[in-house]
Amino acid sequence: MSDHHSHEEPVGITSPYAARIRAIEALLLEKGILTEPEVQDSISYMEARSPANGAKLVARAWVDPDFKALLLSDGKAAASELGMAPEHPAELIVVENTPEVHNLIVCTLCSCYPRAILGRPPDWYKSFEYRSRAVKEPRAVIREFGFEPPEGGEVIVHDSTADVRYMVLPMRPTDTEDLSEEELAELVTRDSLVGVNVPRAPSRTGHG
């Protein structure tokens, strides 16, 4: 049985499970449980997803109050409006940061994450250390990422324990009135969508 897509000589394979998943794939294809196009579609699906999608949602919400209201009341509908197909049957709930409230997302039980929008979660999000500490010492965790939660404000943790995926709508940075929606999206980092940090400040040398 010949190999296909990315089955060349492996370089620096680090795990015995690498061969194992290839074996499983080969067997599933041989038995007709899955087809090559189905596997390839699944690969392409994940590759198409990235934090840029989340940044687009945020930037649109920053410039369009109606879209913001939709994003906060019906995340899936808002994502669909921008051409992103969110997961079924998971709900997407977007929580808003304000001067008084800073939100942090975690999945202590596994690593639930809005993959259909943002793609794969970062390694740290899946780590035992993050999953253990984010619920109990969110302020210390956020500090570790370089952000100091505002004095007198609240830190709210959302543990994604069921069929809901969460994303943060960060606050729009100051001095961004002149930026276009695309330029605003460039300020929105993946970390700010999870809540361990906030968006970048605009560059001081002008637009973008």
Binding site: V135, E137, P138, A140, T161, A162, D163
Partner: protein
């Protein structure tokens, strides 16, 4: 729906075996129902290939961090929310 937003609830301290989506750190803790998220097939049954029907109500439940952790570092207004199924909640009487 059994619980209205604002209802005080306790997470059951059950040690039910099998796949559950109620984290250990919340078992036995008291919080409030923030909202009804919707109704979903029971993950405890889906996990073993069953239909998970009938669907169960899923609530967003809030807790004060200072109620969850003895040594919590932060103000009393720091909250934690988790999504908990109705069959893991019971009404909690008594005052705040």
């Amino acid at each position: 729906m059994t619980f209205e937003p604002g209802a005080r609830v306790r997470v059951l301290p059950s040690e039910k075996p099998g796949h559950v989506r109620t984290p250990a750190y919340l078992k036995g803790k008291v919080g409030w129902v923030e909202s009804l998220i919707g109704e979903f097939p029971n993950p405890e049954e889906l996990a073993y290939g069953h239909s998970g029907l009938p669907e169960r109500p899923l609530y967003k439940v809030g807790f004060r961090q200072t109620d969850l952790w003895q040594d919590y570092i932060g103000p009393a207004e720091d909250f934690l929310y988790a999504d908990i199924y109705e069959h893991w909640l019971e009404p909690e009487r008594g005052t705040t």
